[in-house]
């Protein structure tokens, strides 16, 4: 409890002895006493205590947008790796098949599964269900979701992605990003994202991307890496601000640790000023 002033706790620290409080994630209870079970920040919301660790596997919630990789094709579903404790499931019935949404899934559909998604494909999906053991069920019943084609994948720690209303963001520089809540961020150009929406999400668009768009994509990628290294929360405004600040440097210079730190610090100052 001596760390409650700085809020960081380590496993086994006593949080409270008052039984009126509830314990959330990262807390275990023994005989009315609540102890922390992970290293992280202790936060209190009304009468709920919880400990937020800094790097942790993704813990799913219904309605989250995630970006994941197909690891296996099972009998009537796909297994997706979303950087969580267990692989997520994408059932065949939760995918939009060409030919209308309400069609019953036949045996032929099961045999054709490999034509839609194969191992190592990247997809964006939404969490439909969270099971009791912590595994997730996904769905792609929306033109927004589906196979991802040309672009960059950046993996950051999942607590850094701020929960927003919209996770598909079109930045003003012509770059679209998908902020997966599981820590996977997909960066692509707006033209590619818009075109693949019309196709229905199974065939990635292979049209060439111009040099200007590619430069913007790399700049955004490097900015995200710089922000993630210094634990700045990632959302559309913070990434935009970092992009503007980084314009004075060359794209490859952003990878330099000192410049990355400078960009991250300036971004934080700018965000604090704006809010």
């Amino acid at each position: 409890m001596d760390n409650i002033a700085s809020n960081i706790c380590s496993p086994g620290d006593l949080i409270t002895t008052d039984p009126a409080f509830m314990g959330g994630h990262g807390i275990y209870t023994t005989e009315n006493n609540k102890y922390a079970s992970v290293v992280g920040y202790v936060t209190k919301v009304n009468n709920l205590f919880l400990v937020q660790p800094i790097k942790t596997r993704y813990i799913g919630d219904v309605g989250d947008v995630v970006v994941g990789r197909i690891t296996a094709v099972d009998t009537s579903r796909w297994r997706v790796d979303i950087n969580s404790t267990l692989d997520a499931m994408l059932p065949l019935t939760s995918v939009n098949l060409p030919g209308g949404e309400l069609r019953r899934r036949s045996e032929e559909d099961e045999r054709m599964m490999r034509h839609y998604f194969v191992e190592n494909d990247l997809i964006s999906a939404e969490v439909q269900n969270v099971h009791s053991d912590g595994s997730l069920s996904l769905h792609t019943r929306n033109l927004n979701y589906g196979k991802l084609g040309q672009g960059c994948l950046i993996r950051v720690s999942s607590p850094l992605i701020k929960r927003q209303k919209v996770h598909f963001v079109n930045l003003p520089c012509g770059v679209s990003i998908i902020l997966g809540r599981n820590g996977n961020i997909w960066v692509t150009s707006t033209s590619i994202q818009e075109s693949s929406r019309k196709n229905g999400g199974f065939t990635p668009l292979l049209k060439p991307v111009s040099l200007n768009e590619r430069e913007n994509i790399s700049r955004i990628c490097n900015c995200i890496k710089a922000l993630a290294k210094h634990h700045v929360l990632l959302y559309d405004t913070s990434i935009c601000t970092a992009f503007e600040i980084s314009k004075q440097y060359q794209i490859k210079e952003i990878l330099d640790p000192k410049i990355a730190q400078e960009i991250a610090e300036k971004t934080e100052i700018q965000l604090a000023v704006d809010s």
Binding site: S6, G26, V38, T43, R57
Partner: protein, 268 residues
């Protein structure tokens, strides 16, 4: 020399009455002090976390001459097998000596050779010491892998269990796997006994005597006092472990930047 004893031999002092072996124990202690350095943890410990980028959590420890690197992967999906209990996570611990770590070189790279008998022995001891501290029921159907690599061995491997348990506990905390408490460990040099202890819960998770230890003829009172002394030293090691976990660079960056952001985050 004592390493080459076959399994069936016994130390002759085992068969003596407890009161006459006290003198012999003193003599042995004096001899040990002359020939070998006292390489227990009073010499100073170096601990660092976040060493391996690819792992969920990792730590590095230097204790006397022993240098151990631990990386933790998980919790992650296990392939479907019937012999696993699916209600709790499966803890898998693999201890290896690097080929350059010991006095006698171990031939072959780690991927070429299977675990030797002493490595398997250490693996199961470390797993036994750490298992009570993890909330395994929170991760059903998954597997937590701990890979412990000894980069430099000390004489007689006396500090290896101790260093490995501390490193593994730090790596588990670094991976944000839910723990009841950190496990700290201490080796009581004169009798080569390693005690692993959880201070907040006040529970001993394991006591280990190696083959070379002279603990076979201790009286119960002496044994109790050795355990108490080891527990006191474990508490000191624990406070150091905690200090390293909470004050790593990771958190210093956060204290400056992320404080207000975390509080504003909507928790639903």
């Amino acid at each position: 020399m004592s390493r080459d004893l076959p399994d069936e031999t016994w130390d002759p002092l085992v068969f003596l009455e407890p009161d006459c072996c006290q003198n012999l124990l003193e003599n042995r202690k004096k001899n040990l002090g002359k020939n070998e350095e006292n390489t227990d943890s009073s010499q100073g410990i170096f601990l660092k976390t976040d060493c391996v980028n690819e792992a969920s959590g990792s730590s590095y420890i230097e204790m006397g001459n022993a240098k151990v690197l631990c990386s933790v992967y998980g919790p992650r999906e296990i392939p479907r097998r019937d012999d696993y209990d699916f209600k709790v996570a499966n803890l898998n611990c693999e201890f290896r000596f690097a080929s350059f770590s010991c006095f006698m070189q171990r031939k072959g790279t780690l991927s070429q050779r299977d675990q030797t008998l002493d490595e398997k022995n250490f693996s199961s001891i470390i797993e036994e010491a750490l298992k009570p501290s993890i909330l395994l029921h929170k991760y059903p159907k998954s597997q937590i892998d701990m890979y412990i690599l000894c980069i430099q061995n000390d004489i007689d491997s006396r500090n290896i269990i101790c260093a490995s348990v501390i490193a593994a506990s730090m790596a588990l905390a670094n991976a944000s796997i839910e723990l009841y408490d950190l496990v700290s460990s201490f080796t009581y040099s004169p009798i080569n006994m390693t005690v692993s202890y959880m201070p907040q819960l006040n529970q001993v998770t394991s006591i280990f005597f190696s083959n070379e230890s002279n603990g076979a003829f201790l009286s119960t009172d002496l044994f109790k006092s050795h355990i108490k002394e080891s527990i006191e030293n474990c508490k000191k090691v624990y406070s150091f472990m905690r200090h390293v976990l909470l004050n790593s660079n990771f958190y210093e960056n956060l204290k400056n930047g992320l404080d207000h952001e975390m509080e504003k985050t909507n928790i639903s």
